[in-house]
Symmetry: C2
Subunit: 101 residues, 2 copies
DNA sequence: TTCATAATTCGTTATTTAGCGAAATATAGG
DNA sequence: CCTATATTTCGCTAAATAACGAATTATGAA
C-alpha cells in the first residue's frame, strides 16, 4: 500500500492513471500529453509498475500500458477503512471469477 | 488535492490519521505511538494541517489535533472518480447542516 | 518572577525525487 | 546487415523530504 500512495503522490502519475482510465495507451501516446522528457515519463511508468498500478504489454517496439483499476481500488478502500471512511466496496458484478488473492 | 496526496504519501502521517480517527489527541499523546523525535512529528503535523486533514485546537500549553474526515473523504472520492472507480458518495446523514463550501 | 512542561521553530544532514540529455537496447522493415 | 523507431537505462543535478538535537515560544503554577 505504501508503494501505491507513493505513486499517487505525484500529479503527473495521477494524470497518467486518469488517461489510462479511458483506454490503454503506449508510452509515445502518453508522452504527447505531457511537456516532459520521455526518459522522465519512463521513470514514472516504472514507479507505477512497481506499485502494480499499471500493466505493460509489449508488442513489437511498442509498449502499451493499461490501468489496473482493481489494485488502485483495493488500496484506496483499504486505507479508507482504516480511517473510518464509509466507502462501501462496490458490489462485484460477477462472483467466483477467480480473483487472485 | 495535491497537498492531500502528498500528505498521504508518508506512512507516519497515514498512521497519525488512523490514530486520530479513534479520538482527538494532543501532540504528546501521539508522540508516544512513534519512535521518532517530537520535532519530526511536529513537522508531520504541519504538513497534515496544510493539507487541511487535521484541525489543531490549543488549550493551555496543549495542542489537540482532530481528524477532518470530510476533507479526506472528499479528496479520495474526487480522485476515485477521475480514475473511474465507483465509490458512491456516502449519503449525508443530515441535510442542510451548514456544510461550508 | 521563576520554573517546568508542551510544542514549535531552527539549522543541519542524508536520502529521495523529478527532471534532463545522451547512450543503450530491442525490434521491424528494407 | 543497416537504418529508423520506440522505449528504457545511465549519469547527472537541483530541489524536496524526513530525520535529529538544540534553541525558542507560550502557558500555567509555585
Amino acid at each position: 500500500m505504501n508503494l501505491v500512495f507513493k505513486a499517487l503522490s505525484d500529479p503527473t502519475r495521477r494524470h497518467i492513471l486518469q488517461l489510462l482510465r479511458k483506454k490503454p495507451m503506449n508510452a509515445g501516446e502518453l508522452a504527447e500529453h505531457f511537456p516532459i522528457a520521455k526518459s522522465t515519463l519512463s521513470a514514472h511508468f516504472a514507479i507505477l509498475r512497481e506499485a502494480d498500478l499499471i500493466q505493460a504489454n509489449k508488442s513489437g517496439t511498442v509498449i502499451t500500458y493499461m490501468l489496473k483499476v482493481s489494485v488502485l481500488e483495493e488500496a484506496l478502500l483499504a486505507f479508507a477503512e482504516t480511517v473510518g471512511i464509509g466507502m462501501p466496496k462496490p458490489l462485484p458484478l460477477k462472483r467466483a471469477m477467480g480473483k487472485a488473492k
